[in-house]
């Protein structure tokens, strides 16, 4: 809605607010209070649903109020995403008034930070944030438009500003031609009157963002200046200011991710696992996933690009994820055998299907260029995104290797949120069921990882090379597990991460649950547990299926190869892993990741795209491609960093997802 509309008689009444809080009591209270202020309220207890609603129609809401502490996604992540994608004012809500948290909220872009219990007086003032922001945007737009005007001459820019309230560049462009003439006139008016002019918001769609990220990557994050980025992007009606502000956000995001990643890294280090960078990736993935939601297909290449470090990976994952979903448990089945009876995950085999074939996937990963330069992310080393395997659920039928010490994939918790997001998006995207399964994967895998394996991959971080990331990601693992079956599961010693991985993977793969577990894991990895360490088990027969679980989770769940790809990118190791994966599934995972990384990625991307379509169910081979694709999408940056670190690491997280489908 625009202020203009509301203005008039009702403002601030009629303000359209979206309230997000997982606590039903608080949510009801908030809703009632907001209604009392005469605002239009929409509520949801899930961040993912909220994002979906917001994405469906960016103009449907004026303001978002979100709780900080939510299970499916960190409130801060949601905040970032909303800020990046929709540019809506977001108010944080929390029971915790710690100044550090408040600061965090503000740095993430929150307009305000309220403490629970919320009082009606405070809510009565929230409309000010909306007006303030609109004014600022309008001014920016005007400036941009003004500047563009002379450039374009065709008044396209203007058209944008005026006609397209939505601010969708793409849309505007289309409409531009038609309204061009008219626009010119209107523009003039508009320019003169910024306050009344509707400021066309530039909507950073997935594609646009992808271009942006690609441009940034090309220039190098340090050297990326708005003007050059703008030139590289070559998007009409995009102004330097738009790019500049987006770049700023992006940088902030990267920084945050890197901090998180660093922390993760520490965690990982402690665990002994791979680098935290992985974690970052997860987070990135998380975002990525988000994007993927939009269209899994996109992920493939575009999505990756568009993902800003922040989590675009998630997007990437999506494609991969898609694949994953689709992967029937066929992949898992093989695993089943491999695994011990303990692995209850057999059922989970959902995702494994793809994995099993794994062998080919490995190649894909290799191809992945670790060119991701996520300097900031530093993924490379830590690809071991240590996502702690959530031991919580015992979906993880990891029992497989009993020896597995808690395989913790330290994927950065931060990533989890993203991952989660991703997961969902994927599901949403196109495969409702897959989404479901994806979720399963994520959760399952994670769970399986955690629970079953309790194997801590972390120590392994060191895992032998291959490990880099215990890609727990749900899907992959199971598949890998199946491979793992081949592996020596029994040797899950921490030192033998590989083995563990395989074993771990098995559980994951086995049960479709794995996938889901991954899901939770991924999502949750971020939270805590997932210490998935992506352990790229390359050589080990076990093949570290555990590819970046976190990533995977994100990816897997979503089916996005993206996330995986991301991880993969950085890690060539992933590729290795994938290669090594005996089970396709594994490779798949890795592939996902690696895919991102480079050319291989491309091919895989295509494959991944397939995933999207149908979760590549049979594409195992494509797995590699998936990864590639995802890799590409992921902005490579992320992935490469992650991948780099551990070349060995097979971040197959995505693979998991994808793998499953591979079957």
């Amino acid at each position: 809605m625009t202020v203009e509309h509301v203005n008039g008689d009702q403002f601030p009444s009629g303000l359209r607010v979206l309230a997000v809080d997982d606590d039903p009591t608080c949510l009801l209270l908030l809703e009632t209070l907001l209604r009392r202020c005469q605002y239009h309220v929409t509520t949801t207890s899930q961040a993912i649903t909220a994002l979906k609603l917001l994405r469906e129609n960016k103009n449907k809401f004026d303001l978002v109020i979100s709780d900080v502490h939510m299970p499916d996604m960190d409130g801060f992540k949601l905040l970032e995403l909303v800020g990046l994608e929709m540019d809506l004012p977001v108010i944080m809500l929390s029971g915790n008034g710690d100044p550090k948290l408040v600061m965090k909220g503000i740095t993430h872009g929150a307009c305000d930070y309220l403490l629970k219990p919320v009082r009606i007086e405070e809510l009565k003032n929230i409309w000010q944030h909306v007006v303030r922001r609109k004014k600022i945007d309008a001014k920016d737009q005007n400036n941009s438009d003004n500047q563009d005007k002379p450039h374009n001459g065709s008044g396209q820019a203007e058209g944008m500003g005026n006609s397209d309230q939505n601010g969708k560049l793409n849309k505007k462009r289309k409409d531009q031609n038609e309204d061009e003439d008219d626009e010119d006139d209107e523009d003039d008016h508009n320019h003169e009157d910024p306050t009344t002019q509707k400021k066309p918001r530039v909507v950073w769609s997935v594609e646009l963002h992808r271009k942006f990220v690609a441009a940034v990557n090309q220039l190098g994050i340090d050297k990326a200046v708005p003007k050059k980025i703008l030139d590289l992007m070559n998007v009409e009606k995009l102004t330097r200011e738009n790019v500049a502000s987006h770049l700023q956000k992006y940088r902030l995001y990267l920084k945050r991710i890197s901090c998180v990643a660093n922390q993760q890294a520490n965690m990982v280090a402690a665990l002994g696992s791979s680098d935290p960078s992985y974690l970052r990736m997860s987070s990135v993935n998380g975002l990525g996933n988000y994007h993927t939601v939009g269209g899994p297909g996109q992920f493939q290449n575009s999505t990756f690009r568009s993902f800003p470090a922040s989590g675009m990976l998630g997007r990437l994952n999506a494609p991969a994820g898609l694949g994953m979903h689709g992967l029937p448990s066929s992949g898992m089945i093989p695993m089943r055998h491999a695994q011990n009876s303990d692995n209850t995950t057999n059922d989970q085999g959902k995702f494994h299907p793809a994995l099993l074939p794994g062998s080919h996937s490995g190649n894909i990963l290799q191809g992945m260029p670790t060119s991701l330069e996520l300097d900031q992310l530093q993924l490379n080393k830590n690809i071991t995104s240590i996502s702690e395997l959530p031991n919580t659920k015992d979906n993880t039928t990891f029992h497989v290797s009993s020896g597995f010490p808690d395989a913790r994939i330290g994927f950065g918790r931060s990533t989890n949120p993203l991952l989660d997001v991703n997961n969902n998006p994927l599901f949403l995207e196109g495969h409702p069921q897959e989404a479901h399964s994806n979720k399963m994967f994520g959760n399952q895998s994670l769970m399986s990882l955690n629970s079953g394996s309790s194997s801590r991959l972390p120590d392994h971080g060191r895992c032998n090379d291959n490990w880099s990331s215990a890609v727990q990601s749900s899907g992959i693992q199971p598949n890998s597990f199946s491979l793992g079956g081949d592996y020596k599961q029994p040797t899950l010693h921490p030192g033998h991460l590989r083995d563990n991985l395989s074993t771990m993977a098995l559980p994951i793969g086995n049960s479709p649950c794995d996938v889901s577990s991954l899901h939770p894991l991924s999502n949750r990895f971020q939270d805590p547990k997932a210490d998935l360490q992506f352990q790229a088990v390359q050589d080990a027969p076990c093949r570290s299926n555990v590819m970046f679980s976190p990533l995977n989770s994100a990816v897997s769940i979503n089916g996005d190869v993206g996330p995986l790809g991301q991880c993969l990118d950085t890690n060539k190791t992933f590729f290795h892993r994938s290669n090594e994966f005996d089970s396709l599934g594994q490779s798949n995972f890795v592939d996902h990741f690696s895919m991102k990384i480079n050319e291989v990625q491309r091919s895989s991307m295509q494959a991944s795209s397939n995933l999207k379509e149908g979760y590549l169910m049979g594409q195992q081979k494509t797995q590699g491609s998936y990864i590639s694709t995802s890799v590409d999408s992921l902005e490579d940056l992320f992935m490469s960093s992650m991948v780099k670190e551990e070349q060995d690491k097979v971040l197959v997280p995505e693979g998991n997802f994808g793998c499953s489908s591979y079957s």
Binding site: R36, D67, H69, G95, N96, P117, P528
Partner: protein, 151 residues
């Protein structure tokens, strides 16, 4: 009417005691202010949600604490949520226990956590029964044709 007056008096006494004893605080009365024609059962609705949610959280906490290897973060997360919802409804005593509970979680003190869990469970049960009594009294007054006196 005598009956109504009596009921009303009982209600007021009981309600005051809840505040006095710290079972509920000012936030609870704020909730009443939000109740109107458009949402006549608002307080009861919120309270019901709270009960369901709290029970789930308490169970989750109990499960988490029973694990051989306790995940304190998870427990803390549940406690945090319970704290948030109890403060939203004005459940003062429950909230206070949650605060103490959190510090035990931070310290990763299992014994302390177990104790707090018991306490929180106890407080919650007490509160639930008190509120149910309160709501029942309100119903009785309304049934007798009277109106519920405001705080």
């Amino acid at each position: 009417m005598d009956v109504v007056s009596q009921l009303q008096k009982q209600f007021i006494d009981f309600s005051s005691s809840l505040y006095r004893e710290g079972y509920v605080d000012d936030q609870f009365s704020q909730l009443h202010k939000l109740q109107d024609e458009s949402s006549p059962d608002f307080v009861v609705e919120v309270a019901s949600l709270f009960f369901d949610d709290a029970e789930k959280l308490i169970n989750s906490m109990a499960r988490a604490l029973e694990q051989p290897c306790v995940d304190f973060k998870q427990v803390d997360s549940h406690v945090h949520q319970l704290k948030g919802s109890s403060s939203s409804i004005g459940a003062l005593r429950v909230k206070n226990v949650c605060i103490a509970f959190r510090s035990f979680c931070d310290a990763q003190n299992r014994e302390g956590c177990m104790r707090c869990l018991q306490q929180v469970s106890h407080e919650y049960t007490m509160l639930k029964s008190k509120l149910q009594t309160l709501f029942r009294m309100e119903q009785q007054i309304l049934a007798a044709g009277g109106s519920v006196p405001l705080e």
